[in-house]
Amino acid sequence: MQESELPEGRLREAARSSRIGAPILAVEGVSLSFGGVRALADVSFDVREHEIRAIIGPNGAGKSSMLNVINGVYHPQQGTIRYLGRTHHDMDSHEVAQSGIARTFQNLALFKGMTVLENIMTGRTLKMRSSLLLQALRIGPALREEIEHRTVVENIIDFLEIQAYRKTPVGRLPYGLQKRVDLARALAMEPRVLLLDEPMAGMNVEEKQDMCRFILDVNDQFGTTIVLIEHDMSVVMDISDRVVVLDYGKKIGDGTPDEVRANQAVIEAYLGVSH
């Protein structure tokens, strides 16, 4: 049975759709190539505040590249990105981070030489202001800051239920837990928009359920807008408000999960067309 058919599911949907606001992020006509390879071709879509927006598509469709463009890791040859009312031709990673966009990575990108706690604390770096000298002496404001931000990080650790691992070097954790640390680090930035790149890849059913719960909780409790790349269709259909479908770098579908599911072009992209 679909979640949306259950009474609780319908209530939840109603609650969510009443919260969804105006578009906060929009990509317009973005094209990206590497040498001769076209990663993205004239892609446009928007993301509304507080919604959960999924980006789906077959492998190599350009989904991660799209997130990289939003983050400022890649610079598109054409197109613009509108965020918080300002238009950019390409994004500067630092500015992006400062203005409240955080992300997780498909291949984790955790800092292998540090513990879980330290990894998540790096997410707080933008909010830590004390000078080098004070850090060197570790007195006064510097020490207070460390404790303050440690408290925030501990709350996130509680939220994601990884307390037992906080002093473990991340390299030693199983994959599912590493993904949670990746998410925790992104959350530590207190973002307005959270970009999740295949957060459930390689997880079993229980881990996926946990991760779904976390994502929904983040969206519910903190109102964070979520842009989510995901392959698992049931997850996408269940938790997203709207879906964008990419194939070979082009957008071939955009709408609610039900609309997209019925879209002929999407079906063909996934199942192939007999010629």
Partner: protein, 354 residues
Amino acid sequence: MLYRENGQFKSSYAADLQMLPIAQDRWLMLALVLFAFVAVPFLVSDYLFLSILIPFLILTLAAIGLNLLVGYCGQISIGHAAFMAVGAYAAYNLVLRLPQLNFLIVLLLAGLIAAAMGMLFGIPSLRIKGLYLAVATLAAQFFTDWMFARVKWFTNYSSSGSVSTAAVELFGWTIDTPVKKYLFLLAVLIVFTLIAKNLVRGRIGREWMAMRDMDVAAEVIGIRPVYAKLTAFGISAFYCAVAGALWGFVHLGSWEPLAFSLTLSLNLLFMIIIGGMGSLLGCYFGAAFIVVLPIFLDQAPLWLGIGISTATASHLALMIFGALIVFFLIVEPHGLARLWAIGKEKLRLWPFPH
């Protein structure tokens, strides 16, 4: 059963954030420091001070400097003795031309000058990394070699190219005997180690390590690569400069530009490889190793009753050196510090096997 954290619960983050959260560690450290300050002066001969302990203390300081850059921030430098040279010559010129300055201020200023230079030579790291950066740091090494050898102002127009200094005077003390030198250097090293420890476990340390581990992700989190890298270069140069000044003033007394050559740079690098990159304790281990090894190789044949010439001994030293570097890189890339940590973990479980 000795080394356990049982019963040591922390009830505040502040307590958990202490430098040495385990009580046994704190006691051990206290005992060690007391021993170093109080007992060692009576137990150790002058020869040992001059040939082992004093070089060890100064080289540890330099190794900490290099380790901050290479081990924590992940930038390579094979020319770091250049900054030691800058520190030594800056201190020399400051003492010469502004003799009224307190020596600690001299060290501070020398460090700042080197920090500025460090940041300058760190600029290439913004565009290049790894081997390419290594070559850029070589440029720093050879250029400063040349500069201090040729630009006569630095050596006060000395005809031989070498400079000499008087004993350091500090707060009315003249630091001329081996014991006084040892105590002074020990105090300086402890202070600088504490500062390094604070930096490393604070925000900047995490930014450095993030840059080392995955710089793209670090940028996405909001870490500024420029800031992280240049502070690493600057602070690292500062430490090496202070070490260089101490090397020249306290250890050598007089020196020529070759005292800070590529050999010293490579020695520093080997210290942190063998000791453990990314570990302050490793700097101590590595420096001790590098200082003791040549002496050991000199003396060992005598103990074993085999006579070999000094030339052969030095060749043998080179061979063993080279072999050890390769050995450590293959077997334990995290150096002696990792072996120490593994030992500690085993000790926590002792007498149980796991």
